[in-house]
Symmetry: C2
Subunit: 188 residues, 2 copies
Amino acid sequence: MTGKAFQDYYPDQVSHCYGCGRLNEHGLQIKSYWDGEESVCTFHPKPYHMAVPGFVYGGLIASIIDCHCTGTAAAATYRAEGRAMDTEPPLRFLTGSLHVDYLRPTPLGVPLEVRANVKEIKGRKVVVAATLSAEGQVCARGEVVAIQVPEHLILNTNEHRRRCLIPNRVGPRQPVDSAGETVRICVK
Amino acid sequence: MTGKAFQDYYPDQVSHCYGCGRLNEHGLQIKSYWDGEESVCTFHPKPYHMAVPGFVYGGLIASIIDCHCTGTAAAATYRAEGRAMDTEPPLRFLTGSLHVDYLRPTPLGVPLEVRANVKEIKGRKVVVAATLSAEGQVCARGEVVAIQVPEHLILNTNEHRRRCLIPNRVGPRQPVDSAGETVRICVK
């Protein structure tokens, strides 16, 4: 897939997620795209993302499914509203619940493909089902209940974000971004 | 907690897990202990383990719950068999299914405590329920169905493991350990 992924449309201030934030340099930075009515994400695990030698770690599988499904929830909601992902207001979803069934060991050393379908959009809640495959074989199935983040928690200008940055030492309960800077989430 | 954790008893060849393997230098290396009938794990997320600034990434929460529960499944099975974790044959569990409900945002910058209880031991299957708390408040609940790895897949001597190491370039489908070495899982 080429072009902008779902995650490339997330506003900067909600793009630090370890799983899918393009601004989290330590993270997985997964990328999701439409493929007709399904969404698809291809991910290449690192050699150390293992459960036992030769097989992918289940927590990584859960993480990829999680972020791909919340991304799909956002993209599907834009579609349902009949607007493009670069239009205002921005949409961003977090995970309400996550379920993964591990059907067979997932081989390490090949790309993984996650495909997702929206089962239900009901208000701020979107239910997304996913499969994770390796070499054409489904290795895991997942389901995510994604919850839309209230709009007022998404800061939609970099100027606003700069005003919220506190270049200070990180202490308990103080939010930090991926660079270790202290950040305050602004609530209007 | 001090002393040996559940994961410190895993045989070397099944100690490369990204979540709990003591030999995976890139991994989370979680540690689980008994606290009476419950098991407990304390984990300190890194600043970059975030969902949005200030809050812990859900995939990390799923990963910690996953590995803590499979470790608890192993420890509980040793207990049920009336033997210590350093006795033969070694027990190791993988994840059959994982469910996590995210009850509230989990703050970043404080230690997380996961507590687990065994709900059922039935043959090779162990069902474990867990809570994840921050500052005394439960932020997530999880349940793992853990499946015992067949004994013949666990190599229980380092000598055996050395014989299975192929110091070769990593290719597709070739198992690798956390150092990037190619490893073959031996089946008797």
